[in-house]
């Protein structure tokens, strides 16, 4: 078992702030949207918390963005340009999660410092980080001050359209927040990936390919 440095400090800080923040945003979002069904806190407290945490998360997003823009680690987000290779890799990964994992087959993806995502993760995180998260933030800011941003709200089709996009993203993240930690528990031990996101080091069995000297 070899230890390789996969998660640099800014990424770990961003990740855990993001994780706690998104759980809080989902909780306050549910409270705001379903005040007649949920009684965690008052509507007004939920709105205030939702607003503040939202701004923290927007700031945090720029920690992630600036780190990757000014680091060679951005390679982890480079897309696989060959569709054949991408879909073959995705299929293998799906086959592993849906069948091979039950037989004890090895994970077809081998983690390295510049190749930490499997093909499914790579595609999912590109969509999440470059589309869904920014969309959630932009629609959230517009809803935070509908009157102040009335021209932009009108441009995007009206407040109900903006809210519907915000809620659709929220619904996606509700599902994600359960499935993401479960998939993270499917390492060689259930806590290995969680520990790695604190220490920065992943434990891998094979010799990593393309890893810089630690």
């Amino acid at each position: 078992m070899q230890r390789i440095y996969v998660h640099p400090l800014p990424v770990r800080i961003w990740h855990w702030i993001n994780a706690v923040g998104f759980v809080a945003m989902i909780a306050t979002g549910i409270q705001i949207r379903y005040v007649d069904l949920v009684g965690l806190m008052s509507f007004r407290s939920a709105v205030n918390l939702h607003d503040w945490i939202g701004f923290v998360l927007i700031g945090n997003f720029f920690v992630w963005l600036l780190f990757y823009l000014f680091s060679d680690r951005i390679k982890v987000y480079h897309p696989e340009l060959s569709p054949v290779k991408h879909f073959r890799g995705s299929f293998r990964q799906l086959q592993y999660y849906g069948y091979g994992i039950f037989k004890g087959d090895p994970n077809p993806h081998h983690v390295s410092a510049y190749h930490k995502f499997n093909p499914l993760q790579s595609m999912t995180y590109q969509i999440i980080m470059l589309l869904l998260v920014p969309l959630q933030f932009v629609t959230g800011i517009l809803l935070w001050d509908v009157k102040g941003f009335s021209a932009a709200v009108e441009f995007f089709g009206g407040v109900r359209v903006v809210d519907t996009v915000h809620v659709l993203c929220f619904i996606f993240f509700v599902g994600f927040i359960f499935i993401h930690p479960y998939l993270a528990s499917l390492a060689h031990t259930p806590t290995a990936h969680f520990k790695a996101m604190f220490t920065g080091y992943e434990e891998v069995e094979d010799q990593p390919v393309g890893a810089p000297p630690e």
Binding site: V35, F43, Y97, G104, D105, R160, G175
Partner: protein, 386 residues
């Protein structure tokens, strides 16, 4: 000039017994101030023109014994456009006897006393509003002698009463209201725009949602043209079952309204209003006003149970047609009500279903996967052994 002479003759003919009024009328017909009367000619009755022949004179006033000055000038055009044009001057000033008008003596002690006494004229027609007002904060302040507390004319004006929103009415005095609300109310500016003041400050009143037709290109409310009341007819034709517009009928109505539109489409903008304007007079102290957000921001909240779709009528008053409450939460409303949404209160049922699916799916996937792993644990051990 011939027309002026004719009208002058008509005026004198009507009041030929009142020499004084006749002289004044004849004089004013040739004065500059007559221009105001002439502009309103087509709208006003002959009797009202008679009154305005004196009262349209700018600067006409009465000096009161306490040193105050009571303005007697009435803007003819404004009165001609007011909702009270139909009842004319005599509707409120029926006590004026032309034989001794203007009276040599009167008992007007002060402007304030006169304004309070004139409220009796409003009461003749607006008894229901008057009763609501009697229990209001404004009435209590009047009876306490507060000189700033408004009587009828304080909010509605006197000779230019026209339809306007509660907000337009209230901010005349409560100009600091927006700043005060910003201290505690998120999106205070938007709330002031889409929630009638009385919806919160008359807490006992029943509320509703009015969806008013808005012209995005002209940046203003769509008005019905005088003499061609198409909106109600169109809405009625869409409402096939006659029980109020449902979501599909509302969408069809908007499509029909925008059928020939080449610019930005006409949309519906919602406002929380009182079901009857009369109840807006029952204003309470601000400590009693509604502050709890879930009065509106929860599913099935009281304001969202009564819905109207409306257009601004030719006289400024809304022409309303009933809609079913489901229009607010239908998936079709993303198109037809794209400019009206209240968190919680108008939430889309389709999105609720998706949310439940995501929640249970998010839980079911890990639980299901773990279960399959547990069921196949003996194969797992064999594989790991390899």
């Amino acid at each position: 000039m011939a027309r002026l002479r004719k009208e002058d003759t008509a005026t004198r003919g009507r009041f030929h017994k009142d020499f004084l009024v006749g002289i004044i009328a004849a004089f004013l017909l040739f004065s500059a101030t007559f221009m105001t009367v002439r502009a309103a000619d087509s709208a006003l009755s002959e009797a009202d023109k008679g009154c305005l022949s004196c009262h349209s004179s700018e600067g006409l006033k009465k000096d009161l014994a306490n040193g105050e000055t009571l303005a007697l000038h009435v803007q003819g055009e404004a009165f001609a456009k007011s909702v009270h044009k139909a009842i004319g001057c005599a509707g409120c000033h029926g006590d004026v006897d032309l034989k001794n008008h203007p009276a040599a003596q009167d008992n007007i002690k002060s402007l304030r006393q006169y304004a309070i006494e004139r409220a009796a004229a409003c009461r003749q027609c607006h008894e229901d509003a008057f009763k609501q007002h009697e229990g209001s904060l404004h009435a209590a302040r009047v009876s306490q002698g507060n000189p700033l507390a408004p009587v009828c004319t304080g909010c509605h004006g006197s000779h230019s009463v026209s339809p306007k929103t509660a907000y337009e009415t209230c901010v005349n005095c409560h100009s600091a209201a927006l700043g005060a609300h910003r201290k505690w109310l998120p999106n205070a500016g938007l709330h002031h725009e889409v929630v009638s003041c009385a919806a919160c400050h008359a807490p006992a009143a029943l509320r509703m949602i009015d969806l008013r037709l808005y012209d995005s290109a002209a940046k203003g409310w769509v008005s019905e043209k005088e003499g061609s009341p198409l909106f109600e007819k169109l809405a009625r034709s869409m409402d096939a079952d006659g029980n109020g517009l449902d979501a599909a009928e509302l969408r069809n109505l908007l499509r029909e309204i925008n059928r020939d539109a080449i610019a930005a489409p006409r949309t519906l903008r919602g406002r929380v209003e009182l079901r009857t304007g009369v109840e807006a007079h029952r204003l309470s102290d601000k400590t009693q006003a509604i502050k709890a957000c879930d009065n509106c921001h929860s599913d099935g909240a009281e304001p969202f149970r009564n819905i109207t779709v409306s257009i601004t009528g030719p006289d400024g008053r809304p022409v309303r047609y009933r809609a079913r409450k489901e229009v607010l939460s239908s998936v079709l409303s993303v198109e037809s009500l794209r400019e009206f949404y209240a968190i919680g209160g108008t939430r889309n049922k389709f999105l609720d279903v998706l949310f439940v699916l995501a929640l249970f799916g998010g839980i079911a996937v890990p639980v299901g996967h773990m279960t399959v792993k547990w069921l196949f644990r003996k194969y797992l051990k064999r594989g790991e052994g390899r």
